[in-house]
């Protein structure tokens, strides 16, 4: 069942069309019973769909419990990692879902400052968000939100710098405040000290998009959408060596095999399945032994990997794991902000070695160097960038060592 990507809801910035299709109902219920919002999300089991899987109601409660009148909400649409293309779809095709979710968050947490934080490289999303935000300004529901929180709602679009690290929570805070998106140390966490050192709720666009539906249809309805213990639906960004790559909205917990071989149409050119780079791509690779895994946060974690953003980059026989890993590590190296030396130096050196190996210029000792780096780097940066690079390196090296050895110089 499609919820977020229901074609009928893909009305772009047309607010009247959104309202005509059931939009505003969730927000109206939230306004009628503000105290029930967070318990409903808890009962629904909504979790952070930007990759962390953190229970949404806990973040909201934490912000709501902070003192002081000034609070912020950042709808995080900075999406920039290879293989993930869900948020740009939501922002361009159905931005009102996201905004309505953010306004419900505003009512629940008392935050008057609501920022749609978007990646400027996705021009269609930026345009749609500007138009959608303009449409909300004169709407009576926006005025009702202001009345409910006792402050004038300030809803606006902020374009990020387009850097990958701008999606990290503290990087996003810095970006919204006009600075370069340098991640900073936590604590203090954004829920206590975010924008202007004020309590700030940061949720991924996909997470917020679910909120209006949950308020409208109820927690039980949402839970029932998922398979097994998992709740709701998930946007899987399927790409790589499959017949039908694209965005697939499926029940949370859909097995990998079903995603690839049913919804994805199977492997491209009938090649054998080899592996999947999941959500980032900054996690341990899933292999043929994992085809039965249910794609939800817990089940994927039980296989030693992570669901992440729901990106699934499928690799078939004939595609080089080494080449793919080199590409992804090069991405991380280019996007390291440079604050933490092990990340700045380490990602770049790993990238260089992988590039050399892949281009036939490998040296004796390269694999030991890569292994050593993959031990050294995890946990050495203040944000997760270096961990992601090290994990994808270590995993590909462990699982597909033969491909690495084959790239070494002979003799």
């Amino acid at each position: 069942m499609k919820v977020l990507t229901d074609p009928a809801l893909c009305v772009g910035a047309d607010l009247a069309a959104w309202m005509a299709r059931g939009g505003g109902e969730g927000l109206s219920r939230a306004l009628a019973e503000p105290a029930s919002i967070i318990p409903v999300l808890e009962a629904a089991g909504l979790r952070g769909l930007g990759g962390a899987g953190f229970p949404t109601h806990r973040k909201w409660s934490a912000v709501a419990a902070q003192p002081g009148p000034e609070r912020w909400i950042i709808c995080n649409g900075n999406e920039d990692e290879p293989g993930t293309f869900k948020d740009r779809f939501l922002l361009a095709e159905t931005p009102h879902q996201v905004i309505e979710g953010a306004l419900i968050a505003a009512v629940a947490t008392g935050a008057a400052q609501v920022v749609l934080y978007v990646n400027p490289r996705e021009a269609a999303g930026v345009l749609a968000c500007h138009a959608a935000v303009a449409a909300w300004q004169a709407h009576p529901l926006a005025a009702a939100v202001s009345a409910a929180i006792g402050q004038a709602l300030c809803l606006r679009v902020v374009e990020s710098s387009g850097h990958y690290i701008g999606g990290e929570e503290t990087g996003a805070v810095s970006s919204v405040m006009g600075g370069f998106p340098f991640p900073r140390l936590k604590p203090p966490f954004p829920f206590e000290q975010g924008v202007n050192d004020r309590p700030t709720l940061i949720n991924n666009v996909e997470t917020l998009a679910h909120v209006a539906h949950i308020l409208r249809h109820g927690a039980a309805w949402y839970r029932a959408l998922g398979l097994g213990d998992a709740a709701g639906t998930k946007l899987y960004s399927l790409s790589g060596d499959v017949l039908r790559p694209g965005l697939h909205e499926l029940p949370m917990g859909t097995p990998l095999r079903e995603l690839v071989f049913v919804h994805g149409g199977g492997m491209l050119a009938g090649k054998a399945f080899k592996a999947v780079f999941t959500g980032g791509p900054s996690n341990t690779l899933l292999t043929g032994a994992d085809l039965d895994v249910a794609l939800d946060f817990e089940s994927v974690r039980a296989r030693g990997s992570r669901l992440g953003t729901g990106a699934m980059i499928v690799v078939g026989e004939g595609t080089s794991i080494l080449r793919k890993t080199a590409e992804y590590v090069a991405f991380f190296a280019a996007n390291s902000c440079g604050q933490c030396p092990p990340c700045k130096i380490g990602t770049h050196q790993v990238s260089r070695i992988l590039e050399r190996l892949d281009t036939g210029a490998g040296r004796i000792g390269d694999l030991e160097a890569l292994e050593n780096l993959s031990h050294m780097l995890p946990g050495s940066g203040r944000c997760g960038l270096v961990d992601g690079a090290a994990t994808v390196l270590a995993s590909s090296l462990e699982t597909f060592r033969a491909e690495y050895e084959a790239a070494l110089p002979r003799g």
């Binding site: 203090p188 030396p341 092990p342 130096i345 050294m376």
Partner: protein, 544 residues
């Protein structure tokens, strides 16, 4: 000395046109003797650049103003804050988790001490991993300890402590053996000979023999990798990440007996009591002395110097810093990041806003940096988005040696990619960047400071480098003096146990500040530079 010698400069577009019209750039004669150039433009020498310390053990000594303000600051803590704090006991407390701290912790633990290592950020997240060049040790047949000794003294303008330098170079070969035993890899003269092969030796700048040992071009990262694994596997070492020291603890005789740590995660104060404390907190680059950008890590905020000075330890050469000529000047988010000397060695020229070369690019670092600062001060710099720099002419280099950027200068190309331009078409904008603290805590050859119970190792110490550090001696220093300080601390801890610990030194320190007319408004250490969002006031609040 408040702005690093900035003034107007020539607009980026005009400078680019001048560079393009003139390329390859014609050289302009310097017109100054080297000594005059240094005296006139090196930040260490510029008149008005230094203030005199008016309180503490180094009263009367020159020191950069920002550093002086921190050294002569009041504590973040009061006695009352210590009430109810969690107490941890160890034989040896190591403050800092970079190279020196790890080596010291290992040495102390292997000498039988129970070691607590507290880091501000996390183990290994420091400047050590950024050392690209290598580590010096006189192991070649044609080399000698004497030559290493003389090279080091000469590079430091003969200001170094000879006994310390003798200890450094004398322990050098064994330090390398120790690193190999710890599992560190080195480049081999013949890569195919895996067992019993000789180490590859290169000649560092200013040396009379091939003495620089390396591992690829990330020697520091490999060193830290081996040290980190060794620390994690070593029984007897507990590591506390995210626990910066706010104050040293002293007993009623003035002896150091540990430190008050801030547990950043739990937001509580932890009192770490120890028979001996080793300061391994690194340098001061992130103070951006005189407004300079820095190649240093975010954590390099002179915390150790501030705590040690306040408790009575003497410092030396606090007016001497090394500036690397080619730090990135633009874009702002990469400001200060190093472009290694490899670019100039390969033939890249420095060009001013008028399209002129103005210095022999391979002259010593202090000379090149001074010549660059002169250009900036005299209005021949290049201004871009409020940042001022000089061109590092990579396009001409690529034209003269096609393919060199992609093949030999990959790190430079990677930086350009991150900065968002093509180095084959557009020159880098660079300016001197604060690189290394030559001075620091005065220590003896066993790593002991003048304050009983307090030892030190690494960049936080002074005396080894005189007024200018040789490439490759920083990594050697942290191994040699980390080992010495660790062994000494373990021995000291067996003999001395702290008693009546507290902030006993602060009353006298505060009286001294007031007597010098300084007041108690300024607090230190800095711990986190401003853009880190955690202010000392936050810490104070959380500690209370």
């Amino acid at each position: 000395m408040t702005d690093g010698g900035m003034s107007g400069g020539i607009g980026f577009a005009a400078a680019l046109a001048a560079w393009d019209a003139a390329a390859p750039a014609p050289a302009r004669a310097c017109g100054l003797k080297v000594a005059d150039l240094l005296r006139g433009f090196h930040p260490d020498h510029r008149p008005g650049g230094m203030v005199q310390l008016v309180a503490g053990p180094n009263e009367g000594a020159p020191c950069p103003a920002q550093l002086a303000a921190l050294l002569q600051s009041d504590s973040l803590l009061e006695d009352v804050d210590l009430a109810g704090a969690t107490i941890l006991d160890a034989d040896v407390l190591v403050l800092g988790g970079g190279g020196a701290g790890c080596v010291a912790a290992l040495a102390a633990a292997r000498a039988g001490a129970r070691v607590l290592m507290a880091t501000k950020l996390r183990m290994g997240d420091g400047n050590t991993v950024m050392a690209e060049g290598g580590i010096q040790a006189a192991i070649g047949a044609e080399d000698s300890l004497q030559r290493h000794f003389e090279d080091t003294l000469r590079a430091g303008h003969f200001a170094a402590d000879k006994a310390l330098v003798a200890a450094l170079v004398g322990d050098g070969p064994d330090a390398i053996r120790w690193l190999v035993r710890e599992g560190m890899s080195f480049d081999l003269a013949d890569e195919r000979q895996r067992m019993g092969g000789a180490l590859l030796r290169k000649k560092p700048g200013g040396a009379t023999a091939a003495r620089l040992l390396s591992y690829r071009d990330f020697t520091g990262l490999e060193l830290m990798r081996a040290l980190r694994e060794a620390v994690l596997l070593q029984p007897g070492i507990s590591v506390l990440d995210g626990h910066p020291a706010l104050e040293l603890l002293t007993d009623d005789r003035g002896r150091c007996g540990g430190a008050a740590l801030q547990d950043l995660g739990q937001r509580r104060l932890v009192l770490a009591r120890a028979g001996a404390t080793i300061m391994a907190t690194g340098g001061a680059g992130r103070l951006h002395l005189a407004g300079f950008p820095t190649s240093n890590h975010y954590g390099a905020t002179a915390d150790g110097l501030v705590l040690a000075y306040r408790a009575g330890a003497r410092l030396r050469e606090m007016d001497s810093f090394q500036f690397h000529p080619t730090g990135i000047a633009w874009p702002p988010h990469l400001e200060g990041t190093l472009i290694s000397e490899a670019a100039r060695s390969a033939g890249a020229r420095l060009v001013n806003g008028r399209g002129e070369r103005f210095v022999e690019e391979l002259a010593p670092r202090d000379v090149v940096a001074s010549a660059m600062l002169r250009e900036l001060a005299e209005g021949r710099g290049v201004g871009r988005d409020g940042k001022l720099g000089l061109f590092l002419d990579t396009p001409s280099l690529e034209r003269e040696q096609p393919g060199i950027l992609a093949q030999r200068l990959q790190t430079l190309s990677h930086l350009a990619h991150r900065a968002g331009f093509d180095p084959a078409r557009e020159p880098f904008l660079v300016r001197p960047t604060l690189h290394y603290q030559n001075g620091g805590m005065a220590i003896d050859t066993d790593g002991r400071s003048a304050l009983p119970g307090l030892l030190a190792a690494g960049e936080v110490t002074g005396g080894l480098h005189g007024r200018n550090r040789m490439m490759g001696n920083a990594l050697l220093e942290l191994v040699v003096f980390g080992r010495r300080a660790g062994a000494s601390a373990a021995a000291d801890a067996r003999q001395e146990r702290p008693r009546n610990l507290g902030l006993n030194h602060l009353a006298g320190w505060r009286r001294g500040l007031l007597a010098a007319g300084l007041g108690l408004e300024a607090k230190g250490p800095l711990l986190f530079p401003p853009y880190g969002n955690v202010t000392p006031q936050d810490l104070r609040r959380h500690a209370a």
